[in-house]
């Protein structure tokens, strides 16, 4: 049977793209989980400290003077939360530059029928 010229290369290329897409999705999910967990852990940690670590929170052992440890921790928590956001965006944007698979999304399109609507027969 005669083969179509370039078909094998095209199939390879499609397989490569599919593989790359799967790997990227897995990496993005993993990154998203870790970064969200880190941000949440900071808030949960602060909350737990307010609930169960009141003596340490009110003591001034870290900075001295009248600056309670909890106040210093509050400032650090906000800085770290913002830093997590900055770092996350830096990593995602770097990846998007390296692997420009990202589409433009639906923004700006008219109200296209969603897959759920199409499957349910709700479409006009």
């Amino acid at each position: 049977m005669a083969s179509i010229p370039g078909a094998a290369e095209a199939a390879d290329s499609a397989a490569d793209t599919a593989l790359q897409t799967r790997l990227l999705m897995a990496r993005r999910s993993r990154r998203r989980r870790w970064f969200a967990a880190a941000a949440l852990a900071i808030y949960v940690g602060f909350t737990l400290l307010m609930a169960y670590g009141r003596d340490w929170f009110a003591s001034t052992s870290v900075l001295g003077g009248y600056v309670a440890n909890g106040l210093a921790l509050y400032l650090v928590a906000i800085i770290v939360l913002v830093a997590i956001g900055l770092w996350y965006v830096y990593l995602v944007e770097r990846e998007e530059r390296l692997f420009p698979l990202t589409g433009m999304g639906r923004g700006g399109e008219p109200d296209a029928a969603s897959p759920g609507r199409a499957a349910s027969g709700d479409s006009p």
């Binding site: 609930a51 965006v89 990202t102």
Partner: protein
């Protein structure tokens, strides 16, 4: 000429309320601050002018709801900050620190901690999957009509509860700040917002929110500098004076004055943090930028701006204690209002004189207007896009009717705001605010999160989870201290916590899981199968049309 005519039309529409306000301010005479009136008038004229400019760019319902998707990431980040930082943050948090010390920081950190989560979990993904509202995302792969109806109703409920709390709070606040009677304040704010948003839509809301964010951050920065200058920028000295002047003394820096029960702290934290991730008027701001990348960036800019604001909040909160209570001459003449809400306004008078007092009073007014503009557009989107466009017209609405409906909804929300403000004038607005946060936390966030993250979600699971989340939220609030004892007058509440978000969210998630895993209908198989397509779309966008 056309612009001038439009401005005249807009100004004419707003004139009765402005006229009444001006006359009332005049009547107050010595009680009113001329700087406050000046900044207030400039803000109102600017808002009307922006509405005129924005109205020239609106040709469709889409442009009305998402500003044509032309807002830049930085502009949107500033507008999100302007939309989000309400009077509750600006006045309420500093007031809480003034009353109860470090416990106020629990709320402040909850408000800022939600933003990295919004950035990481939601921002670019909902832009890829949706067009105007979070409901687009939740119903993406599910049977659209029933899911959209329940989520849109949840969103409208959240917006209405939030609106009532803002209107009642605004009426009281402006009455206190400017001496304008409560009822006139309600009419004035509603008419201003109705005119601005009915003409200018999301674009006008964006500009108003950006201006407000600039005014608020600028004013708070100036106040912080003036406060710290009094202590030679020595934070420890400021805290020392605060501790020495406050009735709690050393306990001012120890958690427990306001929230002592650990479970109460946990449920409050969950309600705040995850409630924000479900606020419909905040989520729809992510659609006003052109790309998912810009949505992500705008969430980042918002995080940075709000992080900065909540750092200032700590200095201002303890500054109010140190200066207002630590200065013997002032302590006797304090008028900080219920919950210490006016403490930061009093502080502005002490550190900056009548000029700063006037400026910050006007900023407080701008804050309220900016939040209500966001709520109005959110309601317009739920009605004209979700219910009319997608449910009634099956995704094929008449564009002119959709635009008209958006504008009518804004007018309707204004009227509802006035009526609800009158009806709830003497009610405890804390319970209404809780209702908004808990509904967002117990209904919208669980559905949004599960729709984007869990393959197993089915239409039945989404409906069951939404209904259970809503019912649990309402039941726990009605039987909780805010409603059961403070409104209904019973001796002890049936449910002990004010903020039941933790329980409502847990119930909603459990119901979503249970109804989904037990769903073996043919539709459930389709819902699960479509997750792969949705996952690709939410990560990389829809494939381009051939």
């Amino acid at each position: 000429m056309r612009a001038a005519r439009r401005f005249a039309a807009v100004a004419l529409a707003a004139w009765p309320a402005l006229g009444a306000a001006a006359s009332e301010v005049g009547d107050v005479g010595g009680g009113a601050n001329p700087v406050a009136i000046g900044v207030f008038v400039v803000f109102v004229i600017s808002a009307l002018g922006l509405a005129v400019l924005a109205s020239r760019r609106i040709r469709s319902s889409g442009e009305f709801l998402d500003a044509g998707g032309r807002v830049t990431a930085l502009q949107n980040g500033a507008a999100i900050a302007g939309d989000f930082i309400s009077a509750a943050s600006f006045l309420g948090l500093t007031g809480l620190i003034f009353i109860g010390g470090v416990d106020g920081l629990l709320l402040a950190l909850g408000l800022i901690a939600a933003w990295p989560l919004m950035l990481i979990l939601i921002s670019d993904r909902i832009k890829r999957l949706g067009r105007f509202t979070a409901t687009d995302v939740i119903s993406y792969r599910l049977r659209e009509k029933p899911v959209r109806i329940i989520v849109a109703l949840g969103a409208l409920g959240t917006i209405c509860f939030y609106l009532i709390a803002q209107m009642v709070g605004a009426g009281k606040l402006v009455e206190l700040l400017f001496g304008i009677p409560y009822k006139i304040t309600l009419v004035m704010i509603s008419v201003l917002v109705m005119v601005c948003i009915a003409f200018g839509g999301m674009l006008a809301a964006t500009w108003i929110q950006m201006i407000k964010a600039g005014l608020l951050l600028g004013g708070a920065t100036l106040m912080t500098l003036l406060v710290m200058l009094r202590f030679d920028f020595n934070f420890s000295a400021m805290l020392q004076q605060a501790v020495e002047g406050h009735r709690l003394a050393e306990d001012l820096l120890r958690p427990g004055a306001l929230f002592s029960d650990p479970l109460q702290i946990m449920t409050l934290a969950v309600t705040l943090c995850f409630g924000i991730l479900g606020l419909p008027h905040i989520l729809m701001r992510l659609y006003t930028v052109p790309t998912p990348q810009a949505a992500r960036r705008s969430a980042l800019y918002a995080t940075v701006l709000m992080g900065y604001f909540y750092v200032l909040t700590m200095f201002l909160g303890f500054g109010t204690v140190a200066i207002l209570l630590g200065t013997p001459d002032l302590a006797g003449a304090l008028r900080v209002g219920a919950g210490g809400n006016m403490a930061v306004i009093q502080l502005s008078a002490v550190v900056g004189g009548p000029w700063l007092l006037g400026f910050m009073s006007a900023v407080a007014f701008a804050t309220i207007v900016a939040v209500i503009t966001g709520l109005s557009v959110g309601a317009a989107a739920a009605v004209s896009h979700d219910l009319y466009g997608r449910v009634l017209c099956s995704g094929n609405p008449d564009p002119d009717r959709a635009l008209l409906l958006s504008r009518v909804t804004v007018l309707g929300i204004g009227v509802i705001g006035i009526l609800a403000g009158l009806a709830f004038e003497h009610e405890n607005i804390a319970s209404i605010t809780i209702l908004a946060n808990v509904t967002a936390c117990g209904v919208i966030f669980p559905l949004l999160f599960m729709a984007m993250s869990w393959r197993g979600l089915t239409t039945r699971g989404a409906l069951g989870g939404g209904i259970v989340g809503l019912a649990t939220s309402l039941a726990l609030i009605l039987t909780g201290p805010s409603f059961w004892t403070k409104v209904l007058g019973f001796e002890a509440p049936l449910f002990p916590y004010d903020y039941p978000g933790l329980f409502a969210m847990a119930a909603a998630l459990a119901a979503i899981w249970l109804f989904s895993v037990t769903d073996s209908s043919p539709r459930a198989a389709v819902d699960r199968k479509l997750y792969d397509k949705q996952r690709l779309a939410q990560e990389f966008g829809e494939p381009a049309a051939e």
